[in-house]
């Protein structure tokens, strides 16, 4: 039988394959290495949960500079506060106050859900009106729940306040 072109090329391919010994990729060492990694990872696991955490950096509350020598220490005019913005937190309400335009006061009737939306909207408006001011002092009541405070801080971050400080009311020694 006369050999066709197909048979000839097939035969040639078979010959070449046998000569080159193309046996595929050997995955056994890779599996060995991965087994070692899993083994040592389990062995060195410290037991501490590694969750993705987020951080609220706090600044120090603003202070009144009375001594001229202390005023000299300020590096630039940027460190001077030209708007004192305070957020007072209570169990049942939030009060926003600032010192501009002869004084401003706004009351939000709750600390959760839609009231936080209203609070964020108000703070965003103040931020837009006084764009040079990024600082806000938060004064929570003593009995405030920490989780509620964090929710308020979260809204302040969303309103683009970067200098957030937590203050405390003055009190007598116990």
């Amino acid at each position: 039988m006369a050999s066709t072109y197909f048979h000839r090329t097939r035969l040639r391919r078979e010959e070449r394959k046998a000569t080159m010994h193309q046996g595929g990729l050997n995955l056994v060492p890779l599996v060995d290495i991965l087994t070692s990694i899993v083994f040592f990872s389990l062995l060195t696991y410290a037991g501490a949960a590694l969750a993705a955490l987020t951080s609220f950096d706090l600044t120090l509350p603003p202070t009144v500079v009375e001594n001229p020598a202390d005023l000299q220490k300020l590096k630039s005019e940027k460190e001077l506060l030209n708007l004192l913005l305070v957020v007072r937190l209570y169990d049942d309400r939030i009060e926003i106050e600032h010192s501009a335009d002869g004084g401003y006061r706004k009351r939000v009737g709750g600390v959760e859900g839609a009231f936080l939306d209203e609070f964020e909207k108000e703070m965003t408006a103040i931020r837009a009106r006084y764009p040079q001011n990024k600082d806000v002092l938060v004064l929570p009541a003593d009995g405030m729940n920490y989780e509620t405070i964090v929710h308020v801080l979260e809204r302040l971050k969303l309103a683009r306040y970067s200098g957030i400080s937590l203050g405390t009311r003055s009190r007598e020694a116990k």
Binding site: D142, V150, E154
Partner: protein, 177 residues
């Protein structure tokens, strides 16, 4: 088989035999690179992320900067400083300040933090009155009241730690309407 074909086969087998001698086994190299990439990724990302202090149920927030591993005060059932229990939280809440001008101070925690702050100052060759630029993170239980948190913050500031941050659990942002 024709002579020309025999010669061609001979030539080809010589050529491929030459390839066989010179071929490089890249499998171990690939394995090593896999190990390097794995450990490089884990040590640069996971190694710097802040771990949650055991026994503390953190509040959650969707914004804020990524919390990296820092010197941390944990406030759960116990108060821990760098994962070492210092006192119980009930003891901390009931402790009385030894400084009439600083009613929020927690003396036991203050001594612990002051000792650490002094060590850092000594290591950095700073004078006792120099500002200590060293971050301190607080991981507090979400059920905690603010009057207790404010005592921890004030005690840390008195001990010299001015850069405080509150570390909370990251929550995915809620999609708007």
């Amino acid at each position: 088989m024709s002579r020309a074909r025999e010669e061609r086969q001979l030539r080809r087998s010589r050529m491929f035999a030459g390839f066989g001698v010179q071929q490089l086994n890249l499998v171990p190299l690939v394995d090593t690179f896999v190990s390097i990439v794995f450990f490089a990724l884990t040590t640069t990302t996971v190694g710097e992320l802040a771990p949650v202090v055991p026994g503390v149920s953190l509040p959650s927030a969707s914004v804020g900067t990524t919390a990296l591993s820092q010197f941390t005060i944990g406030i759960g059932a116990n108060v821990t400083v760098a994962n070492r229990a210092v006192m119980s939280t009930a003891e901390a809440a009931g402790s009385v300040s030894d400084d009439p001008r600083q009613p929020l101070k927690i003396p036991v925690l203050y001594r612990e933090l002051r000792h650490i702050a002094d060590s850092i100052r000594a290591e950095r060759h700073l004078a006792p009155r120099d500002e200590l630029k060293y971050p301190l993170a607080i991981q507090g239980d979400k059920s905690m009241r603010y009057d207790l948190l404010s005592r921890f913050m004030q005690t840390a500031r008195l001990a010299g730690f001015r850069q405080l941050s509150l570390q909370v659990e990251r929550r995915s942002p809620v999609a708007g309407p």
